[in-house]
């Protein structure tokens, strides 16, 4: 299994904070990769918060292909940030030739379109770029969304941190929300797309454990939405279910847990909302997960959420101080970034619970 963690902070924080969070949890993963998604950006991206940010790793040819496409579609480049990588010999990293983080302006004809339309455009653009690059094996497109940056690479997280100079605070990279994970996560092929966190239209998700209903989930999701593709990791299905329940069905957030880990029938029958819960369990039986999992997600509004499988087969703990709330697989990660917090405020999320952290860092918890 892998270790996952996330930080939501009042003040912008640097990715080294996420590295510090993951460092003491090294024995819990296989050091095969590192991935993070940063949101509510500061640093070099601060001026462009409303401009869609493309996060991409590619070859030189891939960069050209992407540029051609974006130009043809009428997207206008606003800013580009290129990480100054440390090309040091002996680093255990399987690096791509180029890493592109580029803000765009919407094509002129889209300027007056609704927010919803623009969100569809951004998804379609990412899917199109992905297809173009994938066809020729020229690279990977992780996210294309305002104020969201994705970095993923295969290799030892320490080497990746060194390569991207993530320990050095140059002031370029900072965010108020970071989700991180230290593994080239998949039990299947080694593919960059398989490393979580995953991102889709404002929804970010990272999970550990094995999804034993992967095949069921996948077979159902394939026909639900054009954005539900890839499935390189069995955890992508968690993101797609989250997106489906909240964005497509527009159901309140508490029903996500009811969809992925429905209550046993015997318990549903005792509840006042038995009719609704029964309908959900019946209708979305194919989105149930039934293995050991912890989930960390970020919603489009910026709220951070965590929940577990119904048998609580994976660990997770949430700690907080006045400026920060941190979610971590293990408490030793928390201790490293929040050594002086009040541990009696720590939350050990249980099998029936959902914990949601608002943008004001208020912690809401409810029982499924």
């Amino acid at each position: 299994m892998c270790r996952i963690g996330s930080i939501k902070s009042r003040k912008p924080i640097h990715p080294s904070k996420a590295l510090s969070l993951m460092l003491p949890q090294q024995e819990g993963h296989d050091n095969s990769g590192f991935a993070l998604i940063m949101q509510d950006l500061d640093g070099v991206f601060a001026p462009y918060k409303d401009k869609p940010l493309l996060s991409m790793a590619c070859t030189r040819q891939g960069a050209a292909l992407a540029k051609n496409y974006m130009d043809a579609e009428g997207f206008v480049e606003v800013a580009t940030w290129t990480p100054q990588v440390r090309r040091q010999s002996g680093l255990a990293i399987n690096a791509m030739p180029q890493y592109i983080f580029r803000n765009y302006d919407y094509p002129e004809v889209w300027a007056d379109r609704s927010q919803e339309d623009k969100e569809e455009l951004l998804l379609d653009t990412r899917l199109a770029l992905r297809e173009i690059l994938e066809k020729n094996g020229e690279g990977y497109v992780y996210s294309f969304w305002p104020d969201v940056l994705t970095l993923k690479e295969i290799g030892d997280p320490r080497a990746i941190a060194t390569y991207f100079r993530l320990w050095e605070d140059s002031g370029a990279l900072a965010a108020k929300s970071i989700v991180a994970q230290c593994r080239q996560n998949t039990n299947y092929d080694i593919v960059r797309y398989a490393a979580h966190p995953f991102f889709l239209q404002g929804y970010t998700l990272c999970a550990n454990g094995e999804n034993t209903f992967y095949t069921k989930n996948l077979e159902y999701q394939k026909s639900l939405h054009r954005g539900y593709i890839g499935f390189e990791s069995d955890s992508q299905t968690f993101l797609y279910s989250l997106h489906y329940v909240l964005r497509q069905l527009k159901w309140p957030v508490k029903y996500y847990k009811h969809v992925i880990t429905p209550l046993p029938f015997a318990e549903i029958e005792q509840r006042g909302d038995a009719d609704v819960l029964t309908r959900i369990r019946e209708s979305l039986a194919h989105l149930e997960i039934n293995g050991p999992n912890t989930i960390i997600a970020v919603l489009p509004g910026g709220e951070m959420l965590s929940c577990c499988d119904s048998k609580k087969l994976r660990p997770v703990v949430i700690g907080q101080d006045d400026d920060m709330v941190v979610i971590s697989s293990e408490v030793c990660g928390l201790n490293n970034v929040l050594p002086d917090r009040d541990i009696s405020q720590d939350i050990y999320v249980n099998e029936r619970e959902v914990v949601l952290i608002t943008n004001e860092l208020a912690v809401q918890r409810w029982k499924q």
Binding site: T215, S223, K311
Partner: protein, 543 residues
């Protein structure tokens, strides 16, 4: 001595021969009394022997007449191999032996098309035995404990809606159901299926009903029983046990007068209604109840005189599949105030996917289940030609239907139930589990139920005399002398005991793959040791 001509019927022509050992026989006559077919009789044989009767050798040739038990040489009284003679014999002096060189199939057709009951004797292939639950939780995720963890072993019977069609409205941070949805009952994923009053003796039918109620009330397992097409006992309909029953309506519509007249007196709704379009054992042929089994109480329940009862191969008055879906489902749903799910059962066929696709398009959201019955399904009576040569294996057909739904994103909307050969080798839990992983919501079993009651029939031509009214176990007969052979309590108890074990066996299969709810469609949990099976079903080949 009699003159025998070559065309004469002889014992060597019959399917079963009686292996009789006169030296062990005490002439008690039990075998002759027990044989319901009248296939054996007491006779006298002439013997010539050299015996020595003194204390010293004194051989002398003697001629004697000896009473013996012998097989009748008759097509209508041919031994069926049920083995009751062997069972009752105190001395192991008699038993039926299969005769591989028999000419029965050629000779018996002089009496017209051969009819029998039971099951196919030709297409008893065991596809499911080439499949193994091969994806076991090891390291990547934990197995569960089959005895201590909780498991939700439930399957839907009823029409399920796509999430975007659910009548849910957001109120604050909650959803509220603002309109009705089709009725759905979550029941045990194994239905005691479709054997009519008439095909079964009153005691056999009641034993299954009794076991069903017991399993619900004493064991907390929501098993359901389908009535079959021969109507329902009025006293059951007016009791609260009706809720465990699925009522069947087939082309003959037998018994529905009493069902409708019982409506005002029902204390509870039945669990469902199953429209039988076809049956796997004799697809394209209607129900058949030979006159021998149409006893007065059957006449009463069905509203017919004593006669051989044929049902038409299809429902009169249904013009098309759309008609079947709407007209039939609508009428039966309406009869119970739209509170009771109505499903449909068809014989598996090369056309099943088309039928299922039609149902899935059902705009009325009224079809509460698609039951597929394969060629290995049972029957009380059928033409032998139908039993052995018509039908379709159910495993791949059910899988095809599931995958057709998957391609449209409609899996689970109309629950798939499959039967026909489930539990043939006695391992119904394994069969059911594999079918579920392949996409079935649940399975239906019939022959297994009567085998638990004491039926000795099998796929190798043993007994299968269900059509004759001479069932040696008192199960498929209305002859009160034979029905009296069946101990209702013991029969029901053995069903209960089997199902309790089946339940723990299902958990023993769910636990290793780490699932606490049914892995419907989890084909990744299966591997096949047969490449052709693996390829056809879309599962991994392993060797």
């Amino acid at each position: 001595m009699e003159t025998i001509v070559t065309q004469e019927l002889s014992r060597t022509d019959l399917r079963w021969n009686i292996d009789y050992r006169p030296e062990r026989c005490t002439m008690c006559g039990s075998c002759v009394a027990a044989c319901t077919i009248n296939a054996i009789e007491v006779g006298v044989e002439r013997r010539s022997m050299t015996l020595s009767r003194a204390a010293y050798p004194d051989p002398a040739r003697e001629h004697m007449s000896r009473p013996v038990i012998r097989q009748r040489v008759s097509l209508s009284q041919a031994c069926v191999g049920c083995g009751m003679c062997a069972k009752v014999c105190p001395n192991e002096a008699i038993r039926p032996v299969r005769n591989p060189d028999n000419r029965f199939a050629m000779l018996t057709r002089c009496l017209g098309p051969a009819k029998r009951g039971g099951r196919t004797n030709l297409n008893a292939q065991r596809t499911l035995d080439h499949i193994i639950v091969g994806r076991i939780s090891q390291m990547t995720d934990p197995s569960l404990d089959s005895e201590r963890h909780t498991f939700d072993i439930r399957a839907p019977f009823g029409r399920i809606l796509l999430p975007e069609h659910l009548p849910l409205a957001i109120e604050g941070d909650s959803l509220k159901q603002i309109d009705r949805t089709p009725p759905v009952n979550w029941i045990y994923p194994l239905i005691f299926s479709d054997m009519s009053i008439g095909a079964l003796s009153t005691r056999a039918w009641e034993a299954i009903a009794l076991a069903t109620a017991y399993l619900n009330e004493k064991c907390g397992l929501p098993f359901r029983m389908c009535s079959g097409e021969g109507g329902m006992p009025v006293k059951l309909m007016t009791s609260d046990k009706l809720k465990y029953m699925i009522l069947q309506i087939a082309s003959g519509h037998f018994g529905w007068n009493r069902i409708l007249r019982a409506l005002p007196h029902m204390k509870t709704d039945p669990a469902g209604v199953l429209i039988k379009i076809g049956q796997g054992a004799k697809p394209g042929d209607g129900g058949l109840l030979p006159a021998a089994k149409v006893a007065p109480h059957i006449q009463a329940i069905r509203g017919v005189p004593k006669a051989t009862l044929h049902s038409p191969p299809n429902h009169q008055g249904l013009y098309s599949i759309e008609e079947s879906v709407q007209k039939m489902h609508l009428s039966l749903s309406a009869a119970f105030g739209f509170r009771v799910p109505v499903a449909i059962k068809c014989a598996a066929s090369a056309t099943s996917v088309s039928v299922y696709n039609n149902l899935l398009r059902d705009p009325y959201r009224i079809c509460g289940g698609f039951f597929l019955d394969g060629v290995q399904g049972g029957t009380g009576a059928a033409n032998e030609i139908s039993l052995d040569h018509t039908g379709h294996p159910v495993v791949s057909k059910m899988r095809d239907c599931y995958m057709a739904a998957v391609r449209q994103g409609l899996q689970g909307q109309i629950p798939l139930w499959a039967g026909g050969g489930i539990g043939m080798t006695g391992n119904a839990a394994a069969d059911a589990f594999k079918m579920i992983c392949l996409g079935a919501n649940g399975v239906i079993v019939g022959k297994l139920m009567i085998q638990l009651l004491g039926c000795v029939g099998n796929e190798q031509g043993r007994c299968n005399a269900c059509s004759t009214g001479k069932c040696p176990a008192g199960i498929c007969t209305q002859d009160p002398r034979l029905v009296r052979r069946l101990d209702i309590d013991r029969g029901a108890q053995s069903i209960v005991d089997y199902m309790l074990t089946l339940d723990s066996e299902l958990r023993k299969l769910m636990a290793p793959i780490g699932n606490s709810s049914l892995p419907v469609g989890r084909s990744d949990a299966l591997v096949s040791t047969d490449r052709a099976v693996a390829e056809k079903l879309g599962i991994v080949y392993a060797c």
